[in-house]
């Protein structure tokens, strides 16, 4: 793996771990699964494929952020508003 890609993957892993702290089923649940996925693809050598995976990971980050926002918004709406 090229050096910039290696850094991108590590940053992605860190970002996801950070997001995992708020995961509904708990941090450990999230961390174990995250670790498994990264381990599964750790042997990948093709820079193009690695690039696609990084892109996918960044997409997942955005999705998780959106999920948290929506979950919080909906919970508050249900608690404080009738409509």
């Amino acid at each position: 793996m090229s050096q910039p890609q290696r850094k991108a993957v590590i940053d992605l892993y860190r970002t996801l771990l950070h997001l995992g702290r708020d995961w509904p089923q708990g941090y450990n649940f999230f961390r174990q699964r995250l670790h498994k996925v990264f381990l599964k693809n750790s042997e990948e050598k093709d820079p193009k494929k690695v690039e696609t995976m990084i892109k996918h990971g960044e997409y997942v980050v955005k999705e998780i952020e959106a999920l948290y926002k929506l979950k919080k918004y909906r919970t508050l709406k249900r608690r404080y508003y009738d409509d």
Partner: protein, 253 residues
């Protein structure tokens, strides 16, 4: 408008199941996940957006509470606030800290820092008081735009759309003013890891209520905190007649 002051509170995380202490003196807070009050996140977001639109030059986050309140302030800094003021209130004083005290603290800091706008969440999800914005405005003798769902700059000041029962109300206010953020004002951004790291370098000032000349003597006493009543179990009825009979019995038809 140059300086916006935002009040943030550290509360038990919205997703945590709240447990009442057996002696009914309050709720269990030890070892429970805490985070920034969601309505305060909306307030911070609004202030940061004002800065991004060049309507404000500086955003200052303020929190009153024990040492852990600094974590909440870091989150505000990570979201884009420029600096933070931690008003240290710990132990027994923190347990009896009420909106009137926070309002006095915010009012004093607003004057000291020459703030042009104060934004707070409309209420905190722990005590649901919904008083801080109103009291701060009263103490400062500034106009207030509470339950704001839209804030726009107009010639002389701000145009604020307020959420009221059954609809919306649009008001015009001069600045300086106090606003309180309602749920639909904006969608707060997520504090990302790199931003949290960068926030550690932003300045945080620590002051005490005493330095600000605010008396923290409690004005009200909590007599008892109790769980809401448990919903009673339903029952299955064998046929329509029994159902109608039971509804009549309960006075529903």
């Amino acid at each position: 408008m140059s300086r916006v002051l935002v009040g943030v509170k550290r509360v038990i995380d919205y997703a945590v199941k709240i447990r009442v202490k057996p002696d009914k003196s309050g709720v269990v807070t030890d070892g429970v996940k805490h985070s920034m009050n969601p309505f305060d996140e909306i307030a911070v977001e609004e202030a940061v957006r004002m800065k991004e639109k060049k309507l404000a030059k500086e955003v200052i986050a303020v929190s009153c509470g024990p040492a852990q309140a600094q974590e909440t302030l870091r989150t505000a800094l990570a979201m884009g606030a420029d600096r933070a003021i931690h008003v240290e209130v710990a132990g027994a004083e923190y347990e009896t800290l009420q909106p009137i005290h926070v309002a006095k603290i915010l009012a004093k800091i607003s004057q000291d820092e020459k703030a042009d706008l104060v934004i707070v969440g409309k209420q905190a999800i722990d005590d649901d008081s919904n008083q801080t914005a109103q009291m701060t405005a009263a103490l400062l003798d500034w106009p207030q735009g509470t339950f704001a769902s839209k804030v726009e700059k107009s010639d002389a000041g701000l145009t604020v759309t307020r959420e009221i029962d059954g609809g919306l109300e649009v008001i015009k206010t001069k600045v300086p003013a106090v606003l309180s953020a309602d749920l639909r004002l904006n969608e707060p951004r997520y504090a990302t890891l790199p931003n949290i790291m960068k926030a550690k370098k932003k300045p945080m000032k620590k002051v005490s209520a005493k330095d600000l000349g605010v008396d923290l003597a409690p004005r009200i006493k909590v007599i008892s905190v109790e769980d809401p009543p448990v919903r009673q179990a339903g029952s299955v009825v064998p046929d329509v007649d029994t159902l109608v009979a039971k509804l009549k019995e309960g006075g529903h038809v």
